[in-house]
């Protein structure tokens, strides 16, 4: 933790356990800055063996964990659950249960409130259960059902919901259904880049690699057309077309460039 110099220069023997405690101790003059830096800034990747269970517990204790971190923790727990050390395996099992319980409670609240975020939350829970395919598919199907019933109740559906539905269908490997939904969604919102990306993803899932390139090509053409239509005069139209072609969204353009091949697209 500390070098000899820091140990010698330490004001007290107090060692804070949490970041908040370290900050309070620093402001009260009980510890010096190096202790706070050690406790508050010394973050390291948690996905390393031997597992830092303290760090894992610290992350797990956060109520508002994002999906990526939750997935990472679940990956660690799925490994720990096969550990020969029974205590570790039990810790992993309890942690998995805690994560699922937390999400389930959130889902119950959203269901009771009739929130539109229910489908999104169910999908996330499905993704979290990646190690148990049956459970994963169940939650994904539930998410799809929630989304569709919300639409049937006439609560409206925007591009975001359509993208979510297509994403869930791809996750469920219901590629043909996803394709049908995509065709309708893209026809309704031809300039939507997210839908175009989903179209590329759906074709990638079908191993239609030329189709992926075509999806990006069509997206670029639609964006350029839209830009030209919006621009009032010829010069502005030319500028807008160039802007659309070069793209403000660097990552999208990088992806498009990655997928651009030498063969013309037939679509």
């Amino acid at each position: 933790m500390e070098g000899l110099k820091q140990l010698l220069s330490r004001k007290t023997r107090f060692i804070p356990r949490t970041q908040a405690q370290a900050l309070a101790a620093l402001s009260e003059g009980i510890v010096d800055e190096s202790v706070f830096i050690w406790k508050a800034v010394n973050i390291h990747p948690v996905f390393e063996e031997p597992w830092d269970l303290g760090e894992v517990e610290r992350l797990l204790s956060k109520e508002d964990l994002d999906l990526e971190t939750t997935l990472l923790l679940m990956t660690i727990f799925e490994r720990l659950i096969r550990n020969p050390d029974k205590e570790l395996a039990l810790f992993a099992a309890e942690s998995i249960n805690a994560v699922e319980q937390r999400r389930s409670k959130r889902i119950q609240k959203l269901r009771a409130a009739g929130s539109k975020d229910l489908a999104r939350e169910l999908r996330e829970l499905g993704m979290i259960c990646f190690a148990r395919p049956v459970l994963k598919n169940f939650y994904l199907s539930e998410a799809l059902a929630a989304l569709r019933s919300s639409r049937d109740r006439g609560e409206g559906s925007d591009e975001r919901d359509e993208a979510l539905e297509i994403g869930i269908l791809i996750d469920l490997h219901r590629i043909d259904e996803a394709k049908t939904c995509l065709t309708e969604a893209v026809a309704a919102h031809p300039a939507d880049r997210k839908l175009r990306l989903l179209a590329a993803k759906e074709r990638f899932a079908r191993r239609d690699f030329r189709g992926v390139a075509c999806a990006f090509g069509t997206a670029a053409a639609v964006a350029a057309d839209a830009a030209v239509a919006v621009a009032a005069d010829a010069a502005a139209a030319a500028d807008a077309a160039v802007a659309a072609e070069t793209g403000a969204d660097g990552e999208y353009e990088a992806l498009r460039s990655f997928w651009s091949g030498g063969r013309p697209c037939n679509e």
């Binding site: 973050i43 390291h44 990747p45 948690v46 996905f47 390393e48 063996e49 760090e55 992350l59 956060k62 508002d64 994002d66 990526e68 971190t69 990472l72 990956t75 590329a200 993803k201 990638f204 899932a205 191993r207 690699f209 030329r210 390139a213 992806l255 990655f258 997928w259 651009s260 091949g261 030498g262 063969r263």
Partner: protein, 472 residues
């Protein structure tokens, strides 16, 4: 009605009520309208009170109103308003009236100072509240950023430390373990859900899986690939990597089935393609130049370790050959059996282990050398091959008087009939050793992979069990 008008109306109402209140009180309390006995103090007090609350102007106005009500209206109503009363009032009120005006000034001044002080305090308070709110917003934003940064750091799956830990697993001189570590590292760094390593089989000339990861049970897969018709074969022949987007560049890959390949890379050891790493499934978001580069780096890092394993295995294989017969030892048989059973777990097929034991080996040792007797057993294997018209894979078994044969494609009944054939053949045969005929007493044990569980150990145990029964 705006706020100022409402306030003005309220003050006017208050001033009117406060002006008539002392006058009315003086009427009801007795025969002293305007409280002249008290020098008009209750009536004149209304003005300074108003000045303290609303300022000098309002205080002066209230003074006049209260004085008018107390010293004119009240005596008039009481019927005492006449010249003598006015003279007496002027005499009695002179001091009070003189004291009221400076009091008005003083109270108005004090009120202004208090207002200024209050305004200053309020300004400082508002500023502090604004600053606190801004600080609160800033703290919350920084907390969010800190949380994201923390999650990014602690959530790193492709860190150098992890790579280092994974690479350390390769230094085991165990090919199976090393390839498993390679595939695990590939999974960690690319998020692939299915990957495999393919190597050419010296027996069939096809590509067979040396290691797999993420192959789900029950899924139909081919466990032997034709190198001429597959991307894996293309990569192996051309020593060039394949990436899905390459199908866009030309018709070179049109004749191949690309359903199984997203990225396929050659595993090069000593400048020769030893095998092929195939990424069979990859999230769309992860298919990028970065992933391609990471795979190339991982294979580059694995190369020295895999080379060491290959050298070790070839050296070990040379050591594990019997000096007298030139046939592989039991350890090679065990490894082969383990690998083959692993292959049959992925594709249909069966493997039969037949152990042939010379029961009179010890008796014959008195008359013949051990070397000659060992060779005699393998001579029996040659005759069997000629008789059946097929080649067997032959190995030494645990003892010198035992040999093992591996046969593909036999079921349990076929294996038992085959063993009967061996016994029949041996009963009519005595091979020559140095011109002498050695009588062969043969017992046979066998085990089939069909329906057997437990791997190589279980098969060996079954065959040995049959032998032990026959020895009795």
């Amino acid at each position: 009605m705006d706020m100022i008008q409402r306030k003005t109306l309220r003050i006017l109402t208050e001033s009117f009520l406060l002006a008539i209140a002392p006058a009315a009180a003086s009427l009801f309390l007795g025969s002293d309208p305007g409280f002249l006995a008290l020098r008009g103090a209750p009536v004149l007090a209304a003005g300074p009170l108003f000045a303290a609350f609303y300022g000098f102007g309002w205080g002066l106005a209230e003074t006049f109103m209260a004085a008018a009500a107390g010293f004119l209206a009240a005596p008039a109503l009481a019927g005492v308003l006449d010249a003598s009363w006015l003279v007496m009032a002027a005499d009695r009120l002179l001091f009070g009236a003189a004291a009221t005006v400076p009091a008005l000034f003083l109270l108005a001044f004090a009120r202004r100072r208090t207002d200024q002080f209050r305004d200053r305090m309020l300004g400082r308070f508002r500023l502090a509240v604004r600053r606190t709110a801004a600080l609160d917003r800033k703290v919350k934003a920084l907390e969010r950023v800190n949380r994201v940064l923390e999650n990014r750091v602690s959530g790193q799956k492709d860190s150098i430390t992890l790579l280092h830990n994974q690479v350390r697993k390769l230094a085991s001189l165990n090919l199976e373990r090393a390839l498993a570590a390679v595939l695990e590292t590939v999974e960690l760094f690319t998020e692939t859900s299915s990957s495999s390593v393919w190597i050419p089989s010296s027996d069939s000339g096809k590509l067979v899986p040396a290691a797999v990861r993420g192959w789900s049970d029950g899924a139909e897969r081919s466990a032997a690939l034709d190198p001429e018709l597959t991307i894996e074969g293309y990569v192996l022949r051309n020593k060039k990597p394949f990436s899905a987007r390459m199908v866009l560049d030309g018709s070179e890959f049109d004749r191949y089935d690309t359903d199984r390949n997203i990225i396929t890379m050659p595993i090069i050891i000593n400048d020769k393609v030893w095998g092929v790493l195939n990424i069979e499934d990859l999230p769309f978001e992860r298919y990028s130049l970065y992933t391609e580069s990471v795979l190339a780096i991982l294979l580059g890092l694995s190369e020295p370790y895999l080379r060491a394993i290959m050298e070790y295995e070839s050296m070990h294989a040379l050591q594990e050959v019997d000096e007298d017969t030139g046939y592989p030892e039991f350890s090679i048989l065990y490894n082969t059996l383990t690998k083959e059973l692993g292959r049959f777990a992925m594709e249909s097929g069966s493997l039969t282990l037949i152990v042939v034991e010379m029961a009179n080996f010890e008796e014959e040792l008195g008359r013949h050398s051990r070397t000659k007797l060992k060779k005699q057993l393998f001579a029996l294997k040659d005759i069997l091959e000629k008789s059946k018209g097929v080649k067997f894979r032959s190995y030494h078994f645990k003892n010198d008087n035992q040999i093992a044969l591996l046969l593909d494609g036999l079921d349990k009944d076929g294996a038992s009939f085959f063993c009967l054939d061996i016994l029949t053949l041996c009963s009519s045969f005595s091979p020559a050793t140095d011109g002498e005929f050695t009588p062969l007493e043969i017992i046979v044990g066998f085990a089939s992979s069909e329906g057997a569980a437990g791997g190589a150990d279980a098969m060996i145990e079954t065959a040995e069990h049959l032998l032990s029964i026959q020895r009795l």
